[in-house]
């Protein structure tokens, strides 16, 4: 008697699993950056257009394939055509690469979470130097949050060549991160289905709390106005459209095989069209929501730094000219500067080089993405809030939920084909296969805990998945529409779910989406070729800035 395929306990678990996979760190740290770079409010126009034209159709396609074939990515594509099983293998390999380096982010989140239970927060003060007369030099030149990230967390080496040894603290955190992932995938859909209730919903709770806190912060409106003022001329910039398409594509996690894996555990009669629309809408809504939170935090941080800068300039002037303490305020600063320049020209010109020009715009202009945003900018804002330990714990807990949710999808993409294959699953029980996968990934992931590990991470992040995924999804779409046959697929879906496939989806699958992907692919390929040598940013300990 053949074992029945495990199923989701209810369709809500499936939707939550997809949401928890799609809503990940990219929504929090990539979308706000893109929004800022490509015209603020006007970026939403290409974003929503790409969502409707590219995101929803491709998501529906993957879910439908998984639900119809009821196997992981390798088996599903082999069923469509034996020549196409390579697509499935490619998906598994890309998922493997991704899970190798993605869990390191969870390890860092754990590290920061554990360090949040201290007063004061360790990244809010610089450590003292040797004879306790001042602060550590590297920390003085950078800021305390940057110092904590680059020196305490990563202990980064000056370049990729100098590997250094494995740092035991991040290694322990990585081990813990993999153990947590193993715990969640141990029993297959039975355990994953329960975990995704939390990983999908808790981040929203934290985001709402942060939204309320963020909007009430001093200076938050500066950030929000700066972000949402639309710069209409950016709509004519092709890069805005390309980045919108790319963001939708990668944010939904297409091509990894995770969506196929999740959908394969569905009842055949499940209405995956409705779920595809729901998941893609929620994913985009979360991006916008997270960027509102991020920009209020940006505004707070920029205003705080601007006011600090003004205070420093006032102090410098007060000390040099022995003015009355408290006389200089933000409003009369310029006037007094002018007066002093005319009254004591020699003294003023002496100390003039030390006066920094404080500008709110330049503080807001520092657009950051990626780990820099999550671990430097946010921590800098958090350390200035009241009860900073609470906000810190909440924030890193949210990052962990987002990261683990995405990891569940990644590992499902690798495990489902393995457990589907008769050869492997007859020899080893499900728990052992999951354990082996986690062990291998953890061992390889130790590379990212070395001193040069962050450089490896950046390289993987930028180059590991982009082109391969575009190619995979392109082949997927062509395979379903032309190799398997669009009409055959449509009749399969109708027999399975009982609903006809609307003309809109057919037009998108057969024509528009492949064209879009081809153009993205051509763009990226030419971009790589034209750039020449591939680069990474290094941390210079003596200057404390990135090269």
């Amino acid at each position: 008697m053949e074992k029945a395929r495990p199923l989701w306990a209810n369709s809500l678990q499936f939707v939550f699993a997809c949401i928890s996979y799609a809503v990940g760190l990219g929504n929090v740290w990539r979308f706000p950056y893109l929004c800022q770079m490509y015209g603020g409010g006007s970026f939403l126009v290409p974003y929503i257009i790409m969502l409707i034209v590219e995101g929803m159709p491709l998501l529906y396609l993957e879910l439908a394939v998984g639900q119809r074939m009821r196997q992981g990515s390798i088996g599903a594509w082999r069923t469509i055509s034996p020549y196409l099983s390579g697509v499935g293998v490619a998906s598994v390999v890309v998922s493997f690469f991704l899970s190798m380096y993605y869990n390191v982010i969870n390890a860092w989140a754990f590290w920061y979470l554990f360090h949040s239970f201290q007063d004061p927060l360790p990244w809010s003060v610089c450590p003292l130097n040797g004879n306790h007369t001042g602060y550590d030099e590297e920390c003085e030149k950078a800021s305390s949050t940057q110092y904590f990230w680059y020196r305490k967390t990563l202990n980064i080496s000056p370049s990729l060549q100098e590997n250094g040894g494995v740092q035991w603290e991040p290694a322990l955190c990585l081990l813990l991160a993999w153990l947590v992932v193993y715990l969640c995938i141990l029993r297959g859909t039975e355990s994953t289905g329960k975990v995704v209730y939390f990983t999908a919903s808790l981040p929203y709770c934290v985001l709402i709390i942060y939204l309320i806190r963020g909007l009430t912060l001093h200076g938050a409106t500066n950030g929000l106005m700066y972000m949402f003022t639309p710069k209409i001329e950016q709509l004519a910039n092709p890069k805005a459209w390309i980045n919108a398409a790319t963001q939708i594509f990668f944010s939904l996690g297409l091509g990894f095989g995770s969506l196929i894996a999740f959908a394969s555990y569905n009842e055949p009669s499940n209405n995956c069209q409705k779920h595809a629309i729901i998941v893609s809408l929620i994913n985009s809504f979360t991006s916008i929501f997270a960027s509102i939170v991020t920009f209020s935090i940006y505004g707070f941080k920029a205003t705080f730094n601007y006011e600090n800068c003004l205070k420093k300039v006032s102090l410098l002037l007060t000390n040099t000219f022995d003015l009355e303490d408290g006389f200089l305020t933000a409003s009369n600063l310029e006037q007094v500067k002018g007066y002093l320049a005319s009254a004591y020209p020699s003294k003023y010109s002496e100390m003039f080089p030390q006066i920094k020009n404080c500008s709110l715009e330049s503080e807001l202009d520092t657009a950051v993405q990626g780990t820099g945003l999550a671990f430097i900018v946010y921590t800098e804002a958090i350390k200035n809030m009241e009860v900073s330990q609470l906000w810190s714990v909440l924030y890193f807990f949210m990052l962990l939920m987002l990261g683990i949710g995405s990891m569940l999808g990644n590992t499902a993409a690798i495990l489902t084909p393995l457990t589907d294959s008769k050869i492997i699953s007859s020899h080893l029980p499900k728990e052992a296969i999951s354990g082996l996968v986690c062990l291998v990934n953890c061992a390889i992931g130790m590379v990212f805990t070395m001193e040069a590990g962050n450089y490896w991470f950046d390289i993987f992040n930028d180059y590991a998945a982009t082109l391969s995924l575009l190619l995979i999804v392109l082949v997927e779409t062509i395979a379903v529409c032309y190799v398997y046959g669009l009409r055959r697929f449509e009749s399969d879906l109708k027999a399975m779910t009982g609903r006809a496939v609307s003309w809109y989806w057919k037009v998108m699958w057969a024509g528009v989406s492949p064209l879009l992907i081809v153009s993205l692919f051509v763009f990226y390929l030419s971009d790589y070729i034209l750039t020449g040598t591939l680069k990474y940013q290094a941390w210079d300990a003596s200057q404390d800035d990135k090269l």
């Binding site: 754990f110 590290w111 554990f114 360090h115 239970f117 201290q118 004061p120 003060v125 450590p127 003292l128 306790h132 007369t133 001042g134 602060y135 322990l172 955190c173 813990l176 153990l179 947590v180 193993y182 715990l183 141990l186 029993r187 355990s191 007060t318 000390n319 022995d322 003015l323 009355e324 303490d325 408290g326 029980p429 728990e431």
Partner: protein, 222 residues
């Protein structure tokens, strides 16, 4: 004559205490920054307190126990609230070496700060770097404790899940053999009449006709 002496003394004092003089230190206070609305005004009484604190610090230095308040000289008080001071020896002709004054102030900086409700940032002695308080360093870093707790919880949970999975599988392995036994019994119950297997009446869920006597009862027992 007395006036002449008085002017002489003040002149000597003036020479001893000058901005940039040997062994003189500049002090800078930021009272309004520190206290905001509760800031007090800097007047001669506060200056007297300052002299007293400096004299107190010097008296703690061995060989300088005889330092009096009048040995501390202040000059060039500005609106910033900054001024210069020197400490003279009992003869009031020479100033005490800067090194001694520096070490004395450093050792008592905390009490001087507290006397004026200020801290190291708002009461600055230029050229006297203050010793910063090292941050509290517990013997076991806090993060390792929390890490250990969560690590143990996760390991226990994994062990429980794996063990319960193994139990369930063992129970499932026993069940098919039990189901097989029941099937055998079912087969035994199928009676064979005239070589043709037929189901017993009650297995079909029909009613038993009590009027119909069973085989066994027709034959009287021996």
């Amino acid at each position: 004559m007395l006036w002449l002496l008085f002017f002489l003394v003040t002149a000597i004092h003036a020479e001893l205490c000058q901005p940039g003089a040997e062994n003189a230190f500049k002090v800078r206070l930021s009272i309004r920054t520190a206290l905001g609305d509760k800031a007090y005004a800097w007047d001669t009484n506060e200056e007297y307190l300052f002299k007293a604190m400096v004299a107190f610090s010097m008296r703690k230095v061995p060989n300088r126990e005889a330092t009096e308040i009048s040995h501390v000289l202040l000059c060039n008080v500005t609106q910033r609230v900054s001024f210069w001071f020197v400490v003279t020896d009992p003869s009031k002709n020479h100033t005490l070496p800067a090194v001694e004054v520096q070490s004395a102030i450093r050792m008592n900086k905390n009490r001087i700060n507290n006397a004026f409700f200020l801290n190291d940032q708002t009461l600055e002695f230029l050229k006297i770097p203050s010793t910063l308080a090292p941050p509290m360093d517990p013997s076991v870093p806090i993060w390792i404790i929390i890490f250990g707790v969560i690590f143990c919880i996760i390991i226990v949970a994994i062990a429980l899940l794996i063990l319960s999975g193994i139990w369930q599988r063992r129970r499932k392995n026993k069940e098919p053999s039990e189901v097989d036994d029941a099937e055998d019994k079912c087969e035994n119950m199928i009676t064979i009449e005239n070589g043709i297997p037929s189901d017993p009446l009650d297995m079909k869920g029909g009613h038993i006709n009590d009027a119909f006597m069973t085989e066994d009862e027709r034959l009287t027992p021996l």
